[in-house]
């Protein structure tokens, strides 16, 4: 997928992450390729077990228990997959930073937040102690923590969930990263706080020219925040495109079903569209299309023949053998909306 207007900062090609014995591996991410442009927010959306978080962790080489990553992850011309731990550490946390879903368990409960921000500044900048403190206050201020100066000496438990996530973001920003990996950063938060954090991430991306990969399971979060979206299912990409295109005119049966199962413009208390069955287990994926077992338009070849991601128009990739059937199946209701 080409993002024409923005310079590409991260280029992931044929990423494959597997766990367990090499002869009988569990493939969590299978042949995933995407690019992220400078200052762009890419949404990676999918259900639990779809491989979206593993994709994110593969980029930074923090797969635990140790998985095997193959493919290319091109960052400024360097392939991160080939780097050894020491060289990777110079990029991880400095050029590419990450924030996680649960700010309580990713912050050290025994250290003040000021110390935790300054820790990152020691690791990644040349600032002296006084400058580090000033920078820490500046960062807390940047992420919207009221009275930043007075909160440096507070411990994580003295902050609310939303404020802790802001602290996490401040720590991530300490090294002026070019790319922020956000793994469900708002899932544990209320809608009102989620909204505040998403607006913050958007503003930071815009003002600092920072690219963001936002992993989420919520299409609404994607619609409100991301420039482009990649939909994952069973460790594979099934559709990639601009947010506006995918939400208004999804093509893959899974994206169509996912969007249709969210109640909007339907009469109250009428049955919602639901995708039959449950997401597949990693050890029970068919050789062909991962979605074939739940797909309403699957043909006989679907479980055996893997559909390639093919371009539709200038900015969309979809991997499905039965695009026309999918549109026909989901079409009538779409027209009625």
């Amino acid at each position: 997928m080409e993002s024409t207007e923005k310079a590409v900062v991260l280029d992931v090609r044929h990423l494959r992450t597997e766990f367990g014995p090499r002869e009988r591996p569990l493939v969590a991410v299978d042949d995933v390729s995407f690019q992220v442009g400078q200052g762009e927010i890419l949404g990676l959306v999918g259900e639990s077990g779809s491989g979206k978080s593993i994709t994110l962790r593969s980029i930074l080489g923090i797969i635990r228990p140790r998985g095997h990553v193959a493919g290319e992850i091109l960052w400024n011309g360097q392939d991160l997959v080939l780097l050894d731990e020491a060289r990777l550490r110079r990029i991880r946390g400095r050029e590419i930073a990450m924030i996680f879903q649960e700010p309580m368990s990713s912050l050290n409960p025994l250290l003040t937040v000021g110390l935790q921000i300054q820790e990152n500044l020691v690791a990644h900048t040349d600032l002296d102690a006084k400058a580090r403190k000033a920078r820490a206050i500046e960062l807390l201020d940047l992420v919207g923590i009221p009275g930043a100066r007075n909160r440096l000496d507070d411990f994580p438990h003295e902050f609310s969930g939303g404020m802790r996530q802001r602290v996490m973001i401040a720590i991530a920003l300490a090294s002026n990263p070019k790319l922020l990996l956000a793994d469900e950063p708002t899932t544990a938060l209320d809608v009102t706080i989620q909204d505040q954090i998403l607006r913050l991430i958007q503003a930071l991306s815009r003002d600092l020219g920072m690219a963001v990969i936002l992993v989420t399971h919520d299409m609404g979060v994607v619609a409100e925040t991301c420039d482009r979206v990649a939909v994952m299912y069973g460790g594979r990409l099934c559709e990639v495109g601009t947010t506006t295109d995918v939400i208004a005119d999804a093509r893959h049966p899974y994206s169509l079903g996912l969007l249709r199962s969210i109640p909007r413009d339907v009469a109250p208390r009428t049955p919602l569209y639901s995708i039959p069955g449950a997401p597949p287990a990693l050890n029970a994926l068919p050789p062909g299309c991962a979605f074939s077992a739940r797909c309403p338009v699957a043909g006989r070849e679907c479980p055996d023949v893997r559909p390639a991601l093919e371009a539709i128009g200038s900015s969309r990739l979809v991997g499905c053998h039965h695009l026309e059937d999918a549109l026909a199946h989901f079409g009538p209701r779409e027209a009625a909306q």
């Binding site: 209320d190 998403l198 996912l258």
Partner: protein
Amino acid sequence: MTSTPVHASTTPLLSLRALSIQFEKRRSLSDTLARRPQQVVSAVNGIDLDVMPGETLGIVGESGCGKSTLARLIAGLHRPTSGDILFEGESVVGLKGARRRAYNRRVQMMFQDPYTSLNPRMTVRDTLREAITVHRMSEGAEVDRRVDELLDLVRLPEGAADKYPHEFSGGQRQRIGIARALSLEPTCLVADELVSALDVSVQAQVVNLLIELQDELGLTVLFVAHDLRLVRHVSHRVAVIYLGAIVEIGPSEALFSKPMHPYSKGLLAAAPSLDPGARRRAPALSGELPSPLAIPPGCPFHVRCPHATERCRREKPALRPVGSGMTACHFAETIGDA
């Protein structure tokens, strides 16, 4: 007060009258030595509510607003500090013995987490059988027939009865939870974040089942959830809770299409919409829910309200009829139409 009933002719199934509950925070030794006053969490503050038979009442609010505590109060898992709960016109707060059990049977709760709300060492059959025999719903061979009937009702596959919870997916476990609640032939179901832990594609299956069963069995449902889109879809009426009090209640469609209270407005605007064209740069609602240890005087929402005036800081607004529902705001008319 009474809120606008959906079925105007009938009497309410469930009525809450000035219902309140306070939890005392544990004092540490140093608190006692320093003679710091006992801290009290006011989780629910004087809620008046009528729930009509057969209706679905949605309850929404931020975490910590007291919506789950309210659900647990109704299910009898907490005892209110003051106020009353009337079920078919009869107070249920002080009930004991057989009459308590009868109420417990008729009001069943379903929980959020399908992984911790089922006993991992009991098969589905054991779980259902326990509920049925404790309440003497049926006996002998009848019990097993009833178990099969229930599993069929919630559409679990044949042979599910003799499996353990870990053998099911999250959505299937929630179905087991629903079957367990239905095994006692309840009148009222309290669903506390029933589908929040489930994947989006599976949520719809469970919600469809709930609506269908409700219509089939004529159940009354209290649907506590933070997913506003789902609440809008399943509820006849919706109550918006802020710091343990109802700030707005009204027919679902009216409330969602035109909220009157500034908090409801902010809450609804903060929910992610599926329209990338409707993006905002500024958050819909600033600030956070204040601690229930220290509820602001006057209107509890005034510290976050963009419209707050001096009057809001002093005087607590009462819940009063505005439009088609009820709103607790001094300026609901002017704000609601803005």
